[in-house]
């Protein structure tokens, strides 16, 4: 069933989007600086850049916080508190993304507008919101990775007179690198695919930004916004963007595979 579904989606999206690749030319589509679909300009570089910047920002915010939370939960947190914290993290995963978007508009954007500058809408806001959104994914998988490191390693480290922190940083974390990398890549995947919350705080201006508080557009948010009214080539272009998204996600998944194969053979 799943395989059939995937094949159908791929075939549909590719057949709907591919014509534009040929009409505009792959190079001018992917690296064109201007996205003005109603004026016949189909360069999606600003969108790709917007997505990449926001995802990178989310990784800095949510990736590091997620890994730190994972270490805390599996190594340092007292048993009693662990349950509570885990429920909180799971709750974070269950909040609908539109609510995150709301939070962004009501709390984060005014804060950034007054403290950092700009309109508040833009890369920085989207990165922070996305960072919070990928936190549960990263935390859950990284926590699995860290706590699956045999306790023997920890005991060995501590009985050599090392501190907790030395043991965690130099023995446990290196042993969990593969799992932590997987957690981060899946976090990236989640961040790339997220649409609604990003759409609400990113500002939706398809431009090449020159600062972190500039509004930009992302691949997903553009599809969601434009789909409502797009027709003709514009509509086809949105499907072509979807092809790019599918490619990026596929590459990410392949990279996880390769990562595992490489780490697996190293042991």
């Amino acid at each position: 069933m799943a395989v059939v579904g995937i094949i159908l989606i791929f075939t549909f999206v590719i057949s709907a989007g591919l014509p534009l690749f040929f009409k505009v030319g792959p190079y001018r589509f992917l690296f064109g600086m201007e996205w003005r679909p109603t004026g016949g300009q189909f360069g999606i570089l600003p969108l790709i850049l917007g997505t990449l910047l926001v995802v990178a920002g989310a990784l800095v915010v949510g990736g590091s916080a997620g890994v730190v939370t994972a270490i805390f939960l599996s190594e340092l947190c007292p048993q009693v508190l662990k349950r509570t914290f885990k429920v909180v993290v799971e709750l974070l995963a269950g909040i609908p993304s539109v609510v995150y978007g709301f939070f962004g508009i009501i709390v984060l954007i005014p804060f950034i507008r007054s403290q950092v500058g700009g309109s508040g809408y833009g890369i920085l806001s989207a990165s922070i919101i996305l960072g919070i959104m990928i936190l549960p994914t990263v935390t859950a998988i990284a926590e699995d990775a860290v706590s699956s490191v045999p306790i023997d390693y920890k005991l060995a480290g501590l009985s050599l007179g090392a501190t907790d922190w030395q043991t965690i940083r130099q023995v446990i974390l290196p042993a969990a690198t593969g799992g932590i990398a997987t957690a981060l890549v899946l976090g990236i995947g989640r961040a790339i695919g997220e649409t609604m919350a990003v759409l609400m705080v990113i500002g939706n201006a398809p431009q090449i930004p020159d600062s972190l508080v500039k509004p930009v557009s992302a691949l997903t948010s553009t599809i969601a916004l434009d789909m409502a009214y797009a027709s003709g080539d514009h509509r086809t272009a949105l499907f072509a963007i979807a092809i790019v998204l599918l490619l990026i996600i596929t590459l990410l998944l392949i990279s996880i595979r390769l990562l595992h194969a490489r780490l697996g053979s190293a042991e």
Binding site: Y153, A156, S159, V171, A266
Partner: protein
């Protein structure tokens, strides 16, 4: 420098459960002492008191009485990190770090402040030689320790412990995961190492205790939920040929446990 380990009227608790009752025992320096007894008798708990690792595997542990290493009470305001540096430990299952052979040995000296590469090289070579492993691994110091055989891994763990110059070496059933040949190697090694360290070995094998130890301590608990007690301690030969307690005799002749 090897040190004597002394237990003075020690009671040990896991939460409300009393695991060890009024233990009185002196472990001599430069000797091998074996702890024997059936499962659940508390022998591993006593072993882990010496480097205070019971506290790492269980919450709410409590000790009454005194445990002295070289006349210093290790349960009275002692720095845990320098204590654990002073007391090496070898575990039941070989547990080398998933690092290179070299890094396994160099790691602990480095965190304790040895920075210079030539000094670390020397420690690595000396420790591996001391653990009778140098000849087998000198050409693969940069390979993963996990590529070694089980017996080699266990000797690597011994080398890792002695790299920080401990005074006491604790071994918790160090050969139970090894085949007979690897076991014999470890036993030979223990005999050699006792010249420099106080060695305490927990073992399930009475033959092993008889083969390698100078003195033997027999522990027994009178049933689940009851504390473990030291029944008898003395020279190994005497304990095995002429035990003073009928309980010891019953255990070593295989009638219970």
């Amino acid at each position: 420098m090897a040190s004597e380990v002394k237990f003075e009227k020690v009671d040990f608790y896991y939460g409300a459960f009393k695991a060890i009752d009024s233990l009185q025992l002196t472990i001599l320096a430069r000797k091998v002492s074996a702890f024997i007894g059936p499962s659940g008798c508390g022998k591993s708990t006593v072993l882990r008191m010496v480097n205070r690792t019971n506290e790492l595997v269980a919450e709410r542990t409590r000790l009454e009485g005194r445990v002295l290493i070289a006349d210093e009470n290790i349960y009275d305001g002692v720095d845990l990190f320098s204590l654990r540096k002073k007391v090496g430990m070898v575990f039941q299952r070989p547990n080398p770090f998933p690092k290179t052979v070299y890094e396994n040995i160099a790691w602990a000296p480095r965190i304790h402040g040895v920075k210079r590469t030539d000094e670390l090289d020397e420690i690595v070579e000396k420790s591996l030689k001391r653990a009778a492993l140098w000849d087998q691994v000198k050409n693969k110091l940069k390979s993963s320790a996990l590529s070694l055989s089980g017996g080699q891994q266990q000797r690597l763990c011994i080398a890792r412990s002695i790299a920080v110059n401990p005074e006491v070496l604790l071994m918790d059933e160090p050969t139970s995961a090894l085949d007979p040949r690897a076991t014999a190697r470890i036993e030979d090694l223990v005999e050699e190492l006792k010249a420099d360290y106080t060695i305490v070995i927990v073992t399930h094998s009475m033959q092993q205790a008889a083969r390698i130890s100078d003195s033997t301590a027999f522990f027994l608990s009178e049933g689940a939920g009851r504390p473990g007690r030291l029944i008898e301690f003395g020279e190994t030969e005497r304990v095995f040929t002429n035990p003073s307690s009928r309980l010891t005799e019953k255990y070593i002749t295989g009638r219970f446990g």
